[in-house]
Amino acid sequence: MYQTTYVRASSLAEAANLLRDNPDAKLISGGQTLVPTLRQRLARASHLVDIVHLAELRGLTLEGDRVVIGATTTHAELAASDLVRQRIPGLAHLAGLIGDPPVRHLGTIGGSIANNDPAADYPAAVLALNAAVHTSRRTIGADDFFTGLFETALDPGEIVVRVSFPIPRRSAYEKFHQSASRFALVGVFVAVLADGSIRVAVTGAGPCVFRATSIESALARSFTAEAAESAAISADGLNSDIHGSAEFRAHLVPVLAARAVAQAR
């Protein structure tokens, strides 16, 4: 790791100021992606601004018809939360599939969605559930949040504060693990929202999480595993690497969607 200066932010404003004044400063919450990257010297951080201790980023609450999750909520906390398990079982299940237990004890939802790794799990839930991302400056809808490979709508210095999930009628997540990293080779989140609309989000398969509209339409006609599995996904533009070709990923999307439909509750 290169030299850096660690700062434990005492407020969101202080963190934002540090980021504004130091273009090479980086936020650190769980650090489960950032620290290995820094260890490999693939990035430098003039400052590491730790926001994990900020009270305003904590919390896991029911607010009307939404579950609101503080940005520094760890995967383990979310997976174990009775509230989430009861209201959005697919989300709790997803959180319990991320990484491994020690990673889940530190990794946070805010860090994960801000990083927007193409194979991360959370983006699929945020997009499928049509969550709202509340930042230090504004609220960004899920459809607008994830913009590309490791890219989000977040502006420099903008910090994710909490993520607000509307409680769906049903949800489920199916993940096909990449066998080495245990990231998603393909992950499919299926949600039936309160208004009955169906959203299917796919991670791992493309350069960025995306909605599988062909599966959504098929499920709108018939919310069955067979309908999901019969929908075709084109391999064009999907990821291809040593772990899976674009064709294999394209094939897995409807297969996993069908399994998610069967699991959805």
Binding site: M1, S179, A180, S181, S245, F248, V255
Partner: protein
């Protein structure tokens, strides 16, 4: 007294330090004023070094020195060696090119060390290493062994035209040709034995110290054979004569052969410690382990088997290209030859075998032995062929094997080996019954109702262990003898220290070797300590690999124990005024047969040291040494049965049952032996399902250089194994031990692949059988069925 001799399931004596965090691994050792090393490595697969500028690095904070191949050459530090001479078919010696610890003119693989940076702290060394500027002129590279010999392929070493190191052959070509000509059936297969990275969880590390006053080096290092390391560094690299070089291998976190070889990094650290006048400490990070530890396997093979009308094998023909990487590592030449082709007879009576092996250089990390070393590759060839033959000839996979088993011993194969003993039918029957083989069809049908394809696969492996009779090794080109040494020191109070040239890095020698002493002398194991891994303590040894420690190392201990016992008996007889021939050692006491006269072993020891009353002409003390040179290899063998379920929609393979029935001869500690089998199985199953080292064909870049891309078997990838043993004690060593360390890795890949092929109903699927590969195979199989 609890039985803790041979055969006892004794929990390990060494465990306590490991479970409490008190282990003493190389990187745990603190040396005052030690500086830290970082290696600058080639980012290119093949390039000419035009210029190295170390000036900026030298100015960086904390830097003590930056050294390159030029300085290494100035100091006349020799190159690394490959210690086994192989001759080609035409009689010419293998074309081994020089292997400089730091590349000077040309780099030949990604990760090839170019310079060492030594600084006060690890981070300073890493900071400074980034400031070493190396200008390269990129050259074309080749990483695929099958492409390395092609006309126009990039030339890696001037010494090896066509990148061919040797073209070796074993067996009677004419006999095989005749057998094939007259055969009723022939089957053939093309196989790739996938390249693996050993990945012991402890990365390699070294701490090198030079004592200027004494002119003496000490090297703490992650080694499976410290004496061989010392021998090579002394006699070939020429860093110091042996008496001026102490090599210590403390607790070592797994090896699987990868910590046998004498590598550039340890060598350079030792030299840098003298040149820079500071102790130098280095520990690889995992990415470096991927780049710099010798890889394993990497064979491309075409094999054919011929059968007569009654399904008896009449001939086997094998052609293999073995990738040895960019330089020839310590034992690399022997792996695809004498550790491979000599096992191609498997458990079968095959009258004629002919194997040709071409070894090639490529622009990849050097390849050497990895758990099993040649024998897994041989088993894979034979057992894949047997399965394909069973399928083609429409007979049961177990039956075709049974029909061809060797049934009388000793058995001379057409490929050098002489099997002393075995009962292959017994292990096959044990495995089939434990695996409920007969009931498999019902399980398959049940799985089908769940949409899963269930398959079962067998593998009847044999290996040659107990490496190895020195004279035989020498006649085949080996540069060293493969005996083992031991010394037994009985202290005046009767406690015993056993010094062995074997090295434990997980095998549990501190327990099993003590069990041997307990067995012979009736001394509790807690009064025995096993000392190993330090050239200042143990006079010489050949180390631990090839499942040799029990069969060879323990036989040496046994020999020394016999000598101790003989002297102790002489003293005991004298003390009890009895004839030596009437005195026997029983339960820790010497007794005079037919009388109640007895004396405790400890009292005899005390008498030996007080020396007040010894038989005339007897020297004081009780300490004996021995060297044991095996007269033959040992031949562990067994049958593995793997059962899988394939999800045809995703290609996911689940191992649902794995059964092993092994014949290891005499077993010292069944608990430890089972552990060895479990670990070997995990590595073999890993090879079959998950692990595959990949280079980019165009650029020669290593693209599986972390655990993010190289899939290591995890707990959830495996099942609880169903292991058992049958026994035909080895006839060529005094303890009847055959060895157990590698069997799991040798026998299992074929069992897994045979099971998957059986599930899908195809002949061929490559390792690793990843989800994508399995899915594609399922799809092709379905398409083929649909087309019919």
């Amino acid at each position: 007294m609890a039985h803790d001799g041979i055969g006892a399931r004794l929990p390990r004596k060494e465990d306590r330090r490991f479970i409490t965090g008190a282990g003493n691994y190389t990187d745990d050792i603190v040396v005052r004023n030690a500086a830290h090393a970082e290696f600058v490595r080639s980012p290119h697969a093949h390039a000419r070094i035009l210029r190295i500028d170390v000036s900026a690095a030298l100015r960086a904070p904390g830097v003590i020195g930056v050294l390159t191949g030029a300085e290494l050459a100035d100091d006349k530090v020799g190159g690394l060696i490959c210690g086994w001479m192989i001759h080609s078919k035409d009689g010419s010696p293998m074309r081994a090119a020089p292997y400089a610890p730091l590349a000077r003119d040309v780099v030949r693989y990604v990760g090839n060390p170019v310079a060492i940076v030594v600084a006060e702290t690890k981070n300073e060394a890493r900071d400074a290493a980034e400031l070493v500027e190396v200008e390269y002129e990129e050259l074309a590279s080749v990483v695929d062994p099958a492409a390395a010999q092609a006309p126009g392929a990039p030339q890696i070493h001037a010494e090896a035209p066509g990148n061919t190191i040797y073209q070796w052959a074993l067996g009677d070509k004419g006999a095989v040709d005749r057998a094939f000509a007259g055969a009723a059936h022939r089957v053939e297969v093309d196989l790739i034995n996938n390249r693996l990275v050993p990945n012991a969880i402890e990365p390699r590390a070294a701490t090198a110290i030079y004592d200027r006053a004494e002119g003496r080096f000490t090297l703490y290092t992650t080694s499976q054979n410290p004496h061989v390391t010392r021998l090579v560094l002394s006699a070939f690299v020429g860093l110091a004569p042996e008496h001026k070089l102490r090599v210590v291998a403390p607790d070592v976190g797994g090896g699987f052969w990868s910590k046998i070889f004498i590598y550039p990094e340890e060598t350079v650290c030792l030299w840098a410690a003298r040149r820079l006048g500071v102790p130098v400490k280095w520990a690889a990070d995992r990415r470096e382990s991927f780049l710099a530890d010798a890889h394993g396997r990497d064979h491309v093979t075409h094999a054919e088997m011929a059968f007569d009308a009654s399904h008896k094998i009449v001939g086997l023909r094998v052609k293999t290209i073995a990738n040895l990487g960019a330089y020839m590592s310590t034992f690399s030449s022997s792996v695809p030859t004498y550790l491979y082709a000599t096992l191609l007879s498997g458990q079968y009576d095959i009258p004629a075998i002919y194997a040709e092996v071409d070894a090639v250089y490529t622009n990849t990390t050097p390849v050497d032995a990895y758990r099993g070393a040649g024998r897994p590759e041989a088993t894979y060839v034979v057992e894949r062929l047997m399965d394909i033959a069973a399928r083609r000839l429409r007979i049961d996979a177990a039956e075709i094997r049974r029909k061809n088993f060797i049934r009388s011993f000793p058995h001379q194969t057409p490929v050098i080996m002489n099997y002393d003993t075995g009962d292959y039918e017994a292990s096959l029957n044990a495995a089939l019954s434990a695996a409920r083989y007969a009931e498999f069809p019902a399980r398959r049908a049940e799985a089908r109702s769940r949409g899963k394809l269930r398959g079962i696969g067998l593998s009847c492996y044999i290996e040659a262990c107990g490496l190895a009779p020195s004279q035989a090794v020498g006649s085949l080109g080996g540069g060293v003898g493969l005996w083992e040494s031991a010394e037994v020191r009985v202290n005046p109070v009767g406690t015993i220290e056993v010094l062995t040239g074997s090295h434990s890095h997980g095998q549990g020698h501190e327990t099993t070797f003590a069990q041997l002493v307990a067995e012979r002398f009736g001394v509790p194991t807690d009064q025995v300590s096993i000392i190993h891994g330090d050239t200042d303590k143990v006079q010489f040894g050949m180390g631990t690999y090839g499942s040799r420690s029990a069969a060879v190392g323990m036989s040496a201990v046994n020999k020394a124990l016999e000598r101790v016992e003989a002297k102790a008996r002489r003293i005991a007889a004298h003390l009890m005024e009895a004839a030596e021939s009437d005195v026997e050692l029983k339960g820790g006491e010497f007794v005079v047969a037919g009388t109640d006269k007895k004396i405790a072993f400890a009292n005899v020891a005390l008498a030996a040291y007080t020396a007040h009353n010894l038989p005339p002409g007897t020297e004081p003390g009780l300490k004996e040494g021995a060297f044991y040179d095996p007269v033959n290899f040992t031949f562990p063998a067994g049958t593995y049965v793997c059962e899988v379920e394939v999800d045809p929609k995703t290609g996911a393979v689940e191992i649902v049952q794995f059964t092993a029935a092994d014949d290891f001869g005499t077993i010292v500690n069944p608990m430890i032996v089972e552990g060895q089998v479990h670990g070997g199985l995990a590595q073999g199953i890993g090879q079959a399902l998950l692990e595959g080292c990949r280079y980019d064909r165009d650029s020669g870049q290593l693209v599986t250089a972390t655990f993010m891309d190289y899939a290591m078997p995890r707990a959830r990838d495996l099942v609880s194994f169903n292991v058992s043993t049958t026994a035909t004690p080895c006839k060529t060593n005094p303890l009847g031990i055959k060895g157990c360390g590698e069997a799991g890795a040798i026998g299992s890949p074929a069992a897994v692949i045979n099971a998957i092929a059986n599930a899908i109903g195809v002949e061929r699927i490559e390792m690793p059988a990843t989800a994508q590969r399995v899915w594609e195979t399922c799809r092709a199989a379905q398409a083929a069925v649909a087309a019919q």
